[in-house]
């Protein structure tokens, strides 16, 4: 276990050193992030014109959802995208062989090799919005609600990771999975708004098929102290299933890996 922590530390410190070369990139990411946030909050505000509510969410509590979304988007940009979009290159160039030969779990290696520090401001800003908006909507935090919030964020992240990893792992068969991740990104954008704002059929899909609700709506309910215990329980089971499935799928995919150029 300690070996894994040490590996992460080494990976991320080299990532930090190599990214210092591209400081302009960092600035661009920051600008793009601020623009995106500004735009999304503006679009969200259009739903509330004339004193309306969005699927029984008030303006402040809907902002909590935006915060959770920003936080997860930051994690995606920092961790999921840089690592998981590389898998296809390892497959294509045959360098996956070297990864598989290393005395460390290959899924672990592929998932944490890189860390893009440009995602860090988004993560921090996302969390700040969550707490600021929660306070604005008159929430008082307790140890219990913070604990439930952290657990539900974890549930959300594990589901997000597993779905990303499943698509990335399918690159063992299909060399171009970039477009599939674009479809995923487009669908995940639905998480910017509370699940109760959608028509019934989409609510069903976004809870059970592609569990967007577990990514943003439920963590937001957790910090607002409104999350029902059975949803948390169901989320724990669902995220475990997603994670186990991603591991099994990776083992299965590796059986079909024939290596390029050999």
């Amino acid at each position: 276990m300690q070996r894994y922590f040490k590996t992460i530390r080494l990976f991320w410190s080299t990532a930090f050193a190599s990214q210092l070369e591209y400081q302009l990139n960092f600035l661009i990411e920051l600008l793009a992030m601020l623009g995106t946030l500004l735009g999304s909050v503006f679009i969200l505000s259009l739903f509330f014109t004339g004193g309306r509510q969005l699927g029984d969410w008030t303006w402040e509590s809907a902002l909590v959802i935006q915060g959770v979304y920003t936080f997860l988007d930051g994690l995606t940009n920092a961790l999921l995208r840089p690592n998981l979009t590389e898998i296809v290159n390892y497959v294509r160039e045959g360098t996956l062989d070297y990864v598989l030969l290393k005395p460390i779990d290959s899924q672990f290696w592929l998932s944490v090799k890189k860390f893009s520090f440009a995602g860090l401001p988004e993560i921090i800003l996302g969390l700040s919005i969550v707490f600021w908006a929660a306070i604005q909507s008159g929430t008082t935090f307790s140890i219990y609600s913070l604990f439930v919030f952290i657990i539900s964020l974890l549930i959300g992240f594990i589901i997000l990771y597993s779905v990303w990893f499943l698509i990335a792992a399918s690159s063992i068969w299909f060399v171009k999975t970039w477009n599939a991740t674009e479809v995923l990104r487009a669908l995940l954008a639905a998480g910017r708004y509370p699940i109760s704002a959608y028509p019934v059929i989409l609510r069903f899909i976004f809870t059970l098929v592609l569990p967007v609700a577990f990514l943003t709506t439920f963590p937001a309910e957790a910090i607002l102290g409104e999350l029902k215990f059975n949803i948390l329980f169901f989320g724990l089971i669902l995220s475990s299933l997603f994670f186990i499935f991603s591991r099994l799928f990776w083992k299965f995919a590796l059986k079909h890996y024939t290596s390029a150029s050999s």
Partner: protein
Amino acid sequence: MSFKVIKTLLTTQYAYMLEYRIEIALWALSGVLPFIMFSLWSQNDVGNSFGLNDIGLARYFLSAFLVRQFSVVWVVFSFEEDSLSGRLSPYLLQPLHPLFRYVASHLAEQATRLPFAIAIAITFFILNPSSFWLPSLPQLFLAYLSTHLAFTIAFLLQSLVAALCFWTEKSSALERLIFVPYLFLSGLLVPLSAFPSNVLKVAMITPFPYLINFPAKVLSGMPVDIFNGFLAQILWISILVPSVNILWKLGLKRYTAMGA
């Protein structure tokens, strides 16, 4: 440029694109954002506040989806790859501006995309039968024209960023700075008539509303100032063409043929 060159470019690029049908189908599917937004606006009865009933909203967002399908641009990504891998050098030696090669591959990709876009539109009509409409022939022609002009503007805007490849290795990162205002000001997420008037004024001095909002309104048959819309589109093109030309020429002087 002779007719023969155009024909050869288009047919080879089309043959090339046909190889990637599944990818292109997925890519077509990744444009679902207008549908997600449609479900939100109609479910929450917001449409009325900007003068659109459910049917109007449905038509607008389907049109926005279609316009997006045929005006999507990725030239900066191809160009960056070609420039970094040194593939650009042989292109530059040919008696044909390299950008035309990318124009041809975009048009070929649009042709490959057409059946998938139609399939998605039919699915949409099955799910929302009341929103079905067939635009009249002149309307269809004007929508076709304005979508092509929108594509031209988007292509030129991205070429401007692509030309920066001559200066920096990662110009595709700069594309994000165009994409973000495009996303919110083009009308992909909400018809621009929903904007408060001061935001609308700012939006209208950018090229973005003419990329989705204007062609989508024409296609869906919403009341729209056709003359001024086309005028603005042509104006933007006439500003962007010389800009791209100048930047390209300046950049070419700095080209060092990376990787070759």
